[in-house]
Symmetry: C2
Subunit: 212 residues, 2 copies
Amino acid sequence: MGSNPKTGSTTITDAPAADTPKADGRQRIVDEAAALFLEQGYAATTLRQLADVVGMKAGSLYYHFSSKDELLTEILQRGIEIMQQAFDTASAPGPKAASGPKQIEAHVRAHLAALFENGPYTATHVTTFRTAPPSVRTAIVPVRDAYEARWTALLDNLKTEKAIRADVDTGLARLILFGAMNSSIEWFDAERGNLDHFATQLTQQFWSGVSA
Amino acid sequence: MGSNPKTGSTTITDAPAADTPKADGRQRIVDEAAALFLEQGYAATTLRQLADVVGMKAGSLYYHFSSKDELLTEILQRGIEIMQQAFDTASAPGPKAASGPKQIEAHVRAHLAALFENGPYTATHVTTFRTAPPSVRTAIVPVRDAYEARWTALLDNLKTEKAIRADVDTGLARLILFGAMNSSIEWFDAERGNLDHFATQLTQQFWSGVSA
DNA sequence: GTCTATACCACGATAGAC
DNA sequence: GTCTATCGTGGTATAGAC
């Protein structure tokens, strides 16, 4: 695993990094499908288009997958798994216990890494889940809940330790933080932007606000 | 216009409220289309389905619109107009000048009202813009920029007045705030939730963070 | 494991009657 | 202003050769 010296967070390398040479076979198909779904949306992406990008004919895709929905389900699932692994890695205790904001920052960094540094799966999950076909959505819900529970526990702990104010609704705070992080898909340029800096700024603002 | 005693923000009533009896004719079509696009996405919504909901045959829609894209363009445009009007109404000076956080709160309340209290246009804009057909997107970009500029000016002013810290990147702060507000589409229930309370909490967290 | 060929259907859009 | 009827296209998915 590629470890990041600045934040101590890690990159999950059994997921393709953004600059990894393209995989082949089945994995290649899923990679390209996720990228297309992210860019155009699920419904707007056709299997002929996917086959084109991968370099095969549309019918051949069905050797690997039994339906377009199955392909989406696999991508959404993988998207959450990547987030979860990133979260758990960021939770691994270092030599000394980190302070409240440092804990948050590590997990924010991990979440952003899942969005931008481990292939399009997580970003595709975030952007396509809401309008995914109902059957696909229900299959994914439990895994989502498990991830959200990790964050809720983290924030609740900090509140119990009185690092977070008593009047803060941690459930709402989590939703606000998720919204701030996930919406960066719409504007953050992974090629040009500095993810560590972004994670620091975002955490700082979540923790202390903007007021003088 | 329906004025809100608590925040002083107003509801734009030439847009249909959520509980307004359904309009008829052309307006009805646009209303239902926006609702369907919001729920299912643009590409996944078919004109036959829209015609069904409206109570006519698919071909008849073309008396009112020349293409599906035109319908979307009109909805996205209207979505921004509603946001802009809400913003400007919230900017109208009261008897006494409001403090920094109160100014923010008034505009947050206005933005949320546009998302949840003035029909599905604004919410549809937020959810479908990113994956809209390129020709539709480029037609809308200038109007979006104008709205974003209003927020940038608001935050920059507060920074100049030293109500916002000097080290805050107002451009980033705006993106974070937008992300937090807009993502509430995914979870806020307009029927059950209290929008004033939500606006207060969100502003409080944006302004002061969560730290003890 | 990928190909060709194609079935079957629903899509957006048009034409002309009423 | 809405209907019926239909056109042309392109969608997902399947069958069988290679």
